[in-house]
């Protein structure tokens, strides 16, 4: 697990303390279901923090505790210092106004126009119509829907609906925004636009965002910190960059492997051998990031070690705003050569993984 104490952000916006949630059995005689199994986690103020996990890991259950849609069986949930689990009635409703939420299926009222949907949280809070108008028109402008004020949700695309959802969630000036699979019903391009919007909001309004997703791609582009959930527990957490670079838990590794651009391309996987035949090359995957990303790597390997390097595949990408590259190369599998190469990688701070052998 990445070293959390070394991180500069220590001011917590949201804290889970020993949280468990057991759903009662549906049939008599059966055991209840433990959806959350002791979650301790802190979301620092001003970050976009991701929670990723497979279906059924307990992600939705966890976020629903934050605004009291669900009560934990044990533990505390602190939003900006207030224990949500202790609130009920009016005080809970007041807290909910300081926590915005967006949903996978947008959950817009079909009977209301864009304007009236965004106005709804303020209407509920009892704000006069004039003040509502002054408040939400800039919001609708920010999400780029000023020309759709009087449209109904049925007349909007998925991406536009989610923009309405975001504007609605921001209407009450929340300090925390919860997003439960908000991009899962959208195509990749629209997903990027929505994530860009969330990043802008995070930057310009200083809003803390908790982003639930099952897609590594979303974590990669939008978050600076991530927690991986499995079986009702957080199994790994830290800075997104670190978790991507050095995934510790098997769940994280599996989730990463399913992402395009990581892992080995299929055609190479088919060719990899576990032991070398005479004349075979060693197959090595290099991961480079930060300052190691812009070294003339292959040239140095060739020049300094006199190696014949074959480039098998390569990608350069960005994680949480930092460059991140992946290069698969092959060179002579002679033990002496491999030893030399290892020393070279250690010296230059490159992460190198010997994957196997190819002919």
């Amino acid at each position: 697990m990445a070293n959390e104490s070394a991180l500069p952000e220590t001011d917590p916006m949201l804290v889970f303390e020993g949280v468990t949630k057991e759903f009662p059995a549906t049939h008599k005689g059966e055991n209840g279901f433990k959806a959350l199994n002791g979650v301790d986690y802190t979301v620092p103020r001003g970050t976009i923090t991701g929670i990723i996990g497979r279906s059924g890991a307990g992600k939705s259950t966890l976020v629903r505790l934050v605004n009291g849609l669900e009560k934990p069986t044990n533990g505390r949930v602190l939003v900006d210092g207030t224990d949500v689990t202790k609130l009920s009635g009016g005080s809970l409703r007041t807290l909910r106004r300081s926590v915005g939420m967006i949903f996978q299926h947008f959950n817009l009222l079909s009977s209301r126009t864009v304007f009236d949907n965004v106005a709804m949280p303020l209407e509920i809070a009892g704000m006069p119509a004039k003040a509502i108008k002054a408040k939400i028109e800039p919001l609708i402008d920010m999400v780029g829907l000023s020309d759709k004020l009087d449209r109904y949700p049925a007349e909007l695309s998925g991406g536009q609906k989610q923009r309405v959802g975001i504007a609605r969630a921001l209407a009450t000036d929340p300090k925390l925004l919860l997003s439960d699979e908000a991009t899962s019903a959208l195509d990749p391009e629209t997903t990027q636009h929505i994530l860009d919007l969330l990043k802008t909001i995070n930057r310009e309004l200083g809003l803390t965002v908790l982003l639930i997703t099952h897609e590594m791609e979303v974590v990669k582009t939008a978050t600076s910190r991530v927690a991986v959930m499995d079986g009702g527990k957080i199994v790994e957490s830290g800075r997104t960059f670190d978790v991507f670079l050095r995934p510790q838990h098997a769940t994280t590794q599996t989730l990463l492997a399913s992402m395009p651009g990581t892992g080995l391309p299929d055609w190479i996987k088919r060719k990899v051998k576990d032991s070398p035949a005479p004349g075979d090359d060693a197959l090595v995957r290099l991961t480079f990031f930060g300052d190691t990303a812009d070294q003339p790597l292959v040239a140095r390997l060739t020049k300094e070690l006199g190696l014949d390097v074959r480039i098998m595949s390569g990608t350069v990408d960005e994680i949480a705003g930092d460059p991140f590259g992946n290069l698969v190369i092959a060179y002579s599998a002679e033990p002496g050569v491999m030893e030399q190469a290892r020393a070279f990688f250690a010296k230059t701070g490159l992460v190198a993984e010997e994957v196997g052998y190819v002919d």
Binding site: R93, N107, L109, E155
Partner: protein
């Protein structure tokens, strides 16, 4: 029978029918609506969870609905006398019609509300809405198209029921048709009554459909 007389009789019958249907429909909806909302929101784990009451009210509603209307009319005569001051006439007929309308409307409203996407209730709760705000701003607002169609159906059924209250001297078009058309064997009166009823039901249905369409923003093409 002269045309004048026939028109007079039809006008009077039509007025009585419209009057009975309107008043019993209005009162029945006013009482049936909150009952329907309660039925739809008081199940286990729901907004106003009260499973015991939910079952009791549900039972009463079912019992009332399964009593044949003509038996209901006769059975509640003492009650009708208390409410309307008489057990005979158009005013008296409104009582059983209203009693029959309440459970009908209650179940229609319940059904319409249960169709509303649970995600919308969740979103409203997350916004900090009170249970009452959820009912008015989400459940009823979103169920409006179905409710409009349901009330239309209620009115059409009431027009049919109102033909039966001739049994207690309720008057109206149905009563006219039976007394003149059947008992005095005047087929032209019967025919006229049926024509007027068809036109009336058609008008109500078209108005209801149009209203439901106006409420329905779910399938708009821009």
């Amino acid at each position: 029978m002269s045309i004048d007389m026939l028109v007079n009789l039809l006008a009077k019958g039509l007025w009585q029918t419209v009057y009975m249907v309107f008043v019993s429909g209005l009162i029945g909806t006013a009482i049936g609506l909150p009952i329907g909302v309660f039925l739809a929101t008081s199940g286990k784990g729901e907004l106003f969870a009260a499973p015991g009451w939910n079952r009791v009210i549900g039972l009463i509603v079912n019992a009332t609905r399964s009593t044949p209307f003509i038996i209901l009319v006769v059975a509640i005569i003492p009650f009708t006398r208390i409410i309307a001051g008489t057990s005979i006439g158009t005013r008296a007929a409104i009582v059983p019609l209203t009693i029959a309308t309440i459970p009908f409307v209650a179940r229609l409203i319940e059904g319409a509300i249960r169709e509303v996407d649970k995600g919308l209730v969740e979103a409203a709760r997350a916004m900090g809405a009170t249970p009452l705000q959820i009912v008015t701003k989400v459940l009823l607002a979103e169920a409006m198209p179905s409710i409009a169609l349901g009330i239309t159906l209620t009115i059409v059924s009431l027009i049919g029921y109102s033909a039966m209250v001739g049994a207690v001297g309720g008057g109206g078009l149905g009563d006219l048709g039976i007394r003149y058309g059947y008992q005095r064997f005047m087929p032209e009166v019967m025919l006229a009554v049926v024509v007027v009823l068809i036109v009336l039901v058609q008008a109500v249905q078209s108005a209801g459909d149009a209203l439901a369409r106006r409420f329905d923003k779910r399938n708009r093409k821009s």
